[in-house]
Symmetry: C2
Subunit: 319 residues, 2 copies
């Protein structure tokens, strides 16, 4: 199956009353530094603090009443967990979230706050999958994958419709790549509306499986990720890889230093909080790695959830 602009438009219509229309912010200081016009789509200001609210809300809205009443399940230590818990709460159905036992307490608490049942498991991918499978067998709940699901991909892509509505004459878009759900939706929307806009994926050098996969023409799993950008440590899915091959113009990889510089510049200059994964797209520009003179560049800031006690440039105060 192939994701279409119609899927994404339908997703947007379906979810728009349950998400924030996030602002597109600009900064004269960062424009001057880049020698370009930058347009930051602030999904860090989205419900639950990340774009994941879009895909999860769309997926839950698309369930039949029969499916919905059995609830939804996923495994995630990150923003998809909170997003799915919230989406289930909005529909009034159960959510079961499998989370690794090493997950920060704050993340577990935020999922529980939405009324979801949290199942803690060993911190391995195999344990996460088998626990999720047990939940499905026990409850009949519907599994909602964090990215390799057309309903989720279409939901994420809805942010591109808003961005193009606000800034129709973009020349380029920079979008982080983790599992590829976001860039699948975004690139499908953008290329369907205006194929002349360049869509670049950005990923950490320490988790450059998308660059490797595109070069190899097949999915190369991310086996030993080494990056502060914890949202981008996963591998591509079959469905997302297909869309990436079809639509994405290139992948830029960024160093850990560039990620932290980007994050700090956004905090200092724009006065908004992005998590490391959320700052990666701007990492392609912050130290001049990608040169975009005079262009009009959309930059997707994907999320703002992180532990304020452990910032990359600080050590915690001793009690």
């Amino acid at each position: 199956m192939t994701l279409t602009l119609a899927d994404i438009r339908a997703a947007h219509t379906r979810i728009r009353d349950r998400i924030h229309r996030t602002p597109v912010m600009t900064s004269a200081t960062l424009n001057e530094k880049a020698g370009a016009q930058l347009f930051f789509k602030c999904e860090n200001l989205q419900k639950i603090g990340a774009f994941k609210a879009r895909g999860a809300t769309n997926a839950v809205a698309l369930l039949s009443d029969e499916e919905a009443k059995r609830g939804v399940v996923t495994h995630s230590s990150g923003n998809h967990a909170a997003a799915l818990a919230r989406a289930a709460k909005l529909r009034g159905i159960p959510a079961y979230i499998v989370m690794p036992s090493t997950c920060p307490q704050a993340k577990v608490a935020s999922v529980r706050r939405y009324g979801a049942e949290v199942i803690l498991c060993e911190p391995t991918y195999a344990a996460r999958e088998s626990n999720a499978k047990s939940v499905v067998e026990r409850t009949g709940a519907v599994f909602i994958h964090p990215f390799n699901d057309p309903r989720v991909m279409a939901g994420q892509g809805s942010l591109a419709l808003e961005l193009l509505e606000d800034v129709p004459d973009l020349t380029d878009i920079l979008c982080p790549i983790g599992g590829g759900g976001l860039i699948s939706g975004v690139s499908t929307a953008i290329k369907s509306i205006n194929p002349e806009i360049h869509v670049f994926g950005v990923e950490p050098k320490g988790a450059d499986d998308a660059a490797q996969s595109l070069a190899a023409g097949k999915i190369i799993p991310c086996t030993s990720p080494n990056t502060i950008a914890d949202g981008l440590r996963g591998s591509l899915g079959e469905l997302t890889f297909e869309e990436i091959q079809r639509h994405v113009d290139g992948i830029v990889t960024v160093s850990e230093e560039e990620i932290v510089h980007a994050m700090r510049a956004i905090w200092e200059v724009m006065k908004i909080i992005v998590e490391p994964s959320g700052a990666v797209a701007y990492g392609a520009l912050v130290d001049g790695q990608l040169d975009v003179p005079g262009r009009r560049v959309g930059i997707i800031l994907t999320g703002g959830n992180l532990d304020l006690d452990t910032l990359p440039w600080m050590t915690p105060a001793t009690a």
Copy 2:
């Protein structure tokens, strides 16, 4: 002289193309916590990272060509310094900024980036005043006070017009008080448009000169401020005290703990950066000090400029 709504409307028309129309943000989480509808006017996202851009831009715009070509001068270690430097740059005139030599290098650098001449002086109020006076004698530049100036007060009040346009049915507004420039403009605008809206000033317990002054019926200077909210350590001016007496319904004082709680809650939940002074208004609600059940409360977040290496809940990483 008395500040009027007409002054504030004229200021808004004069400056609106040179400032951001800052967003009014809401948070379901913080609403639930407060048991009220909260509307955050995000002046931390304003040009130069603070509402001070409004008053300085208005004051500079009102200079005659004759005055303007001699330039402007002020003394400030804070946001007014950057705001005046930027306003002067926009008009293409000189700016002279007297700053205490103890001022963080980052603040000095940000003022110089706007092309202003920085005059460093001893860190006393007397030294600041005498240095500013010398500049006036040497250059003929016009002194622009950070708050006790009707042009500045009218400019700051323009944010209230935007807030009421976006949320016409507010019941209360919480506004920080330092020198009183902001609350003078805001309370004049609000009470002129709808006298039923309550306007509360909020200040640190460790710099509660506005509460003392209102109680005494005369200006009680803030002689030994003790607060993390460095933008609120000054005393009221004659002009601002007059407006505060006329329009403000009450003053709430907040503890240092409440200020830090408020700041951290805004960072964590709203994903935006406010400085301690900028979070003070929300400090009145964060621990339930002021009870506003079911009301619709405007909260002014005034600025987002602070050193990210010295957050109140962290110690700097050792090199």
